[in-house]
């Protein structure tokens, strides 16, 4: 779902407004008609934190627990409520 799926179109401005001129926009500079919002601010990856969560040790250890366990994680319906 990247916003950059459209074809890039490059254009030279035919009309420069007084503001543009005041800003010193160069008419010879090409302008890109296409816009990719995602380029504005690239989301940095979140740093990974160490986990200190603990669970109670099953009696007799995890291996035994795995054999004994019949629990199945129920499916999660992620559609908005």
């Amino acid at each position: 779902q990247d916003g950059g799926s459209t074809k890039q179109v490059t254009v030279f401005k035919t009309y420069l407004s007084p503001w543009d001129k005041a800003m010193g926009v160069d008419p010879k500079q090409p302008t890109n008609i296409n816009v990719n919002l995602l380029e504005y601010d690239i989301k940095a990856e979140l740093c990974k934190y160490k986990s200190f969560n603990r669970s109670a040790m099953p009696y007799g250890g995890y291996e035994k627990a795995t054999k004994l366990m019949t629990f199945q994680m129920p499916e999660f319906d992620a559609s908005p409520a």
Partner: protein, 494 residues
């Protein structure tokens, strides 16, 4: 001589003969009387009870032999001599021989004397043998009394000691010490066996030697032997009781050791579980909370096993109580090796059982929260993934509207105005997204893998789009102004 003289002489001789006859009769009477008196004394072989009495008899016999008998021997000899002399004289004077009166004949004397000497014969030997027997018997009787007294003073109180039930209240160590002491006692007893046998042998000998007081000796000996048998039985019984008690206490000790072997790890497990069931956790997505739930389910799956172990541990303690009760040992069932009480196990187990559903709830609440967060993410993403491209499309439309050289400035203006109108109408979508974004932030959701668009992207895009459309409209307006003022065409402006 004269006839008168001769007659006188004859008379004198006769008188002398008469006197000698009388003398014979008298002496014989006396001698026979003495013999008659003496014989029963010599023939009396009734033993005396004491040596002293027997020694007195021996002394009497010596006196008899040295003082009383010699004059009688003398008398008898004299009697014989007198008899011979008398008879000889009677024969010489041609007189009839002397005939002693009835019972006083020579043969009577000889027979009596023979009987006397017969009685004498063996009397001293009998006395000495008796004395020897009595000496022996008195010695043995005294020895018996001494040995018996020593033995009785040794055995005094022993039966009571052996009947003690001290082991009923003793610890294993104490019972083992009691066993050691009992072994020492058994050795003492075994060492005494010999002495008891000697006591019995002495009693036996006293019986064989015909001790006058054998009955009392036998009674005392019987008592000693009976008591000795009882001591033997009691000793055996006590050893058995001690060994049985030792076995029982060893069993109890084994159970105590088994208890700590199992209660220790179980207690550690419960302590850990109690702490970890209350462990604070932090998760950021459904997967993480599901992992915790799975781990908790694993824990729960082993609870029946843990409960079995708990019951087994309580069972060990019950076994201890049972052994103590059914065998009537009077000791505490307290486990000397353990710092863990049954109450503690009970309390902790209750706590664990109470914490499990609480943890369940906490985890479920967190799961719901994470699922909700996930829904928020998806909801946001669904919108952002539409709004982002929509903004981009509009931006391109604005850009393209300036390139369309076919239409008039007014056409451009119209299409831009329409665009602006669309944008304004679209605004509520962004506002909706902002609302969802606020919820996401307030829910402390920091990531969203379902979209690359952040709220900032949309905001920046939206601002850019708004300013671009306004700016572009203004540009067209100024172009129209210029064209209208100077009367030039659109182309000329460019």
């Amino acid at each position: 001589e004269t006839a008168a003289n001769r007659i006188c002489k004859v008379l004198a001789v006769n008188q002398e003969n008469e006197r000698m006859m009388e003398e014979y009769e008298r002496l014989t009477s006396e001698l026979l009387e003495w013999i008659r008196r003496t014989i029963p004394w010599l023939e009396n072989r009734t033993p005396e009870k004491t040596m002293q009495a027997m020694l007195k008899k021996l002394e009497d016999f010596r006196d008899y032999r040295r003082k009383h008998k010699p004059p009688r021997v003398q008398e008898k000899c004299q009697l014989e001599i007198n008899f011979n002399t008398l008879q000889t004289k009677l024969r010489i004077s041609n007189r009839p021989a002397f005939m002693p009166s009835e019972g006083k004949m020579v043969s009577d004397i000889t027979n009596a004397w023979q009987r006397l000497e017969q009685g004498e014969k063996g009397y001293e030997e009998w006395l000495l043998n008796e004395l020897r027997r009595l000496e022996r018997v008195e010695h043995l009787a005294e020895k018996f009394r001494q040995k018996a007294s020593l033995h009785e003073s040794w055995t005094a109180g022993k039966e009571q000691l052996l009947s003690q039930k001290d082991y009923e209240t003793a610890s294993l160590t104490e019972v083992r010490a009691l066993l050691r002491k009992h072994e020492a006692f058994e050795n003492d007893l075994a060492a005494r066996q010999d002495r008891v046998e000697q006591i019995a042998a002495i009693a036996q000998e006293l019986n064989e030697l015909d001790y006058y007081d054998a009955a009392r000796i036998n009674e005392r000996c019987q008592k000693i032997c009976d008591q000795w048998d009882r001591l033997g039985t009691l000793t055996q019984k006590r050893r058995e009781a001690l060994e049985r008690t030792e076995k029982l206490l060893e069993t109890v000790d084994q159970l105590h050791l088994e208890f700590i072997k199992r209660a220790g790890p179980f207690n550690i497990w419960m302590e850990g579980a109690m702490e970890d069931l209350q462990d604070m956790f932090i998760v950021h997505n459904v997967e993480e909370i599901q992992k915790l739930i799975t781990a908790h389910e694993q824990f729960k799956a082993t609870l029946p096993e843990a409960d079995s172990e708990r019951q087994a541990i309580l069972g060990i303690q019950n076994e201890v109580e049972k052994v103590i009760q059914s065998y009537n040992i009077k000791i505490s069932s307290h486990n000397p090796y353990s710092t863990i009480t049954l109450d503690e196990i009970r309390t902790k187990w209750e706590k664990v059982k109470q914490l499990v559903p609480m943890r369940d709830q906490t985890l479920q609440e967190e799961l719901a929260r994470q699922q909700n967060n996930e829904r928020l993410r998806r909801q946001f993403a669904a919108q952002a993934n539409v709004i982002g491209p929509w903004i981009q499309s509009r931006m391109e439309e604005i850009g393209r509207s300036c390139l369309d050289s076919t239409g008039t400035l007014e056409d451009q203006m119209n299409s831009l105005k329409m665009l602006e109108h669309n944008i304004v109408n679209y605004k509520h979508n962004v506002d909706k997204l902002e609302g969802d974004h606020q919820m996401i932030q307030e829910s402390l959701i920091f990531d969203n893998k379902h979209t690359s668009y952040s709220m900032e992207h949309i905001r920046v895009g939206w601002e850019l789009m708004l300013t671009t459309v306004a700016r572009t409209i203004n540009e067209v307006e100024t172009q129209i102004l210029t064209r209208d003022a100077k009367g030039i065409t659109q182309e000329q402006i460019n």
